[in-house]
Symmetry: C2
Amino acid sequence: MYAPQIAPSARSATLPSFGLAPATVNLESVFTSQPLETFEAGEALFWEGDAASHVFQIVEGCLRLCRILPDGRRAVTGFAFGGEMLGVSFLGSYLYTAEVVTKVRLRRLARGRFYAAVDGAADLRPQLLARICEEMGAAHKHMIVLGQLSAEERVVSFLLSAARRTGADIKKPVSIELPMSRLDIADYLGLTIETVSRVFSKLKRNGLVGLEGRHTVILRRMRQLQDLAGGMADDDELPSPQVSTRYSTVWPN
Amino acid sequence: MYAPQIAPSARSATLPSFGLAPATVNLESVFTSQPLETFEAGEALFWEGDAASHVFQIVEGCLRLCRILPDGRRAVTGFAFGGEMLGVSFLGSYLYTAEVVTKVRLRRLARGRFYAAVDGAADLRPQLLARICEEMGAAHKHMIVLGQLSAEERVVSFLLSAARRTGADIKKPVSIELPMSRLDIADYLGLTIETVSRVFSKLKRNGLVGLEGRHTVILRRMRQLQDLAGGMADDDELPSPQVSTRYSTVWPN
DNA sequence: CGGAAAATTGACTTACATCAAACTCAGTGG
DNA sequence: CCACTGAGTTTGATGTAAGTCAATTTTCCG
């Protein structure tokens, strides 16, 4: 899992709904009447510790989610992209600062209104829970990456997560965009810039990836990359599509 | 936070509900008609990857929540104690194996029934969300511990989290019980047994803690311990008691 | 008690961090 | 259009926190 934020649930967007699916409404529809806002690179959507006043639906762009420790160290806890929601799983205040990496277009809704809307629609409640559960799964996975994997394993699993985000077949070479800086990646993976850079260089030297400019990586040897990921390559996207699409009014399980 | 599982919400249990609080039901009450089960040390409650069939309410005891990587490495993603719930934030299958550290007494409920019960009571829905948000906050905190803190900082922040669990005043010396083994702690903190042990010894040598047997630690110099925790000592237990107790029928914010 | 598992301690190694250049490249202005 | 600039990145040399390997020592349970 690339971003610990609520995943875009690509399936429900891309699959036709057949005759079966009664999916009357989906979570995204809650935002449809909200105006589209734009944030430029460098701006902050909200700050860690701020009262969590809104829930956001990212339409496009990339955000960096981070916290600063008292002594200045920075932890990037995740990235958020178009199609995801932000701010759903916070209690009173935001857990992190959300900063724009590349120009973001989004819709927002006051938390109270968001929850009221979801709470009022029996269809939506299980969808919200499912989203949060996905986010939880991502957080757990990242814990393991940070706690158990070597530098190389961390970087490779990051690249593979990014690849998976594209939706492309993960068996075949893919070109991925990494809009964030090396520092962002380093702070996300609990490494230094230099270490991230050295792993990139080594992967390139061994022909596993190609680097084009600062922000695009071509993953070439998918099999070998999988092997280097130390077991954090597989198992995302657990096979449970039934929740979001087909039986959307039913609680998980 | 110590355990990434849903916190016991100590306040709602200990505070009187005054006249104001209309709190008709609380989340725990959903389990009251379920029989009390017992699990002995070493048993597993469920396994990572199993279909997530039940939600558990831990009455007493301690559990270790862990995942095994393909190559045998083990990650302990958290511990669970009496008063907490387990299995709430899973989609289709359990994200980790739950193993009993010390004899556990619990009640369980089929997930479908649990969610139906919560979904049917407008009072309970915000409570469930609040619980999951707390769990999310704990997961985020642990990410930072694993990604940014030194060995000493990790161990100290672990000790302080354990101290906070006791509910005692965190300014004054406390004696804490650590029922889990050093290996469990090491795998939780992304360190080795030896490193954990060395940090314990150093803290003892410097008079910051006392060690009595394998499982009890006396925290003596709270101020200095706080300083060594590298900024992960404070800020749990965010001031948002309103959700669970006083306005329990209202969504956060 | 005795014995095995758990924990501690010590000597040594290593993966990653740190410090310090050099290089790249996207803007900007001449 | 190209030189200049500075942030971002890569590369290299060196340092160090934590890991590994290997004995002890402690604990606790029968």
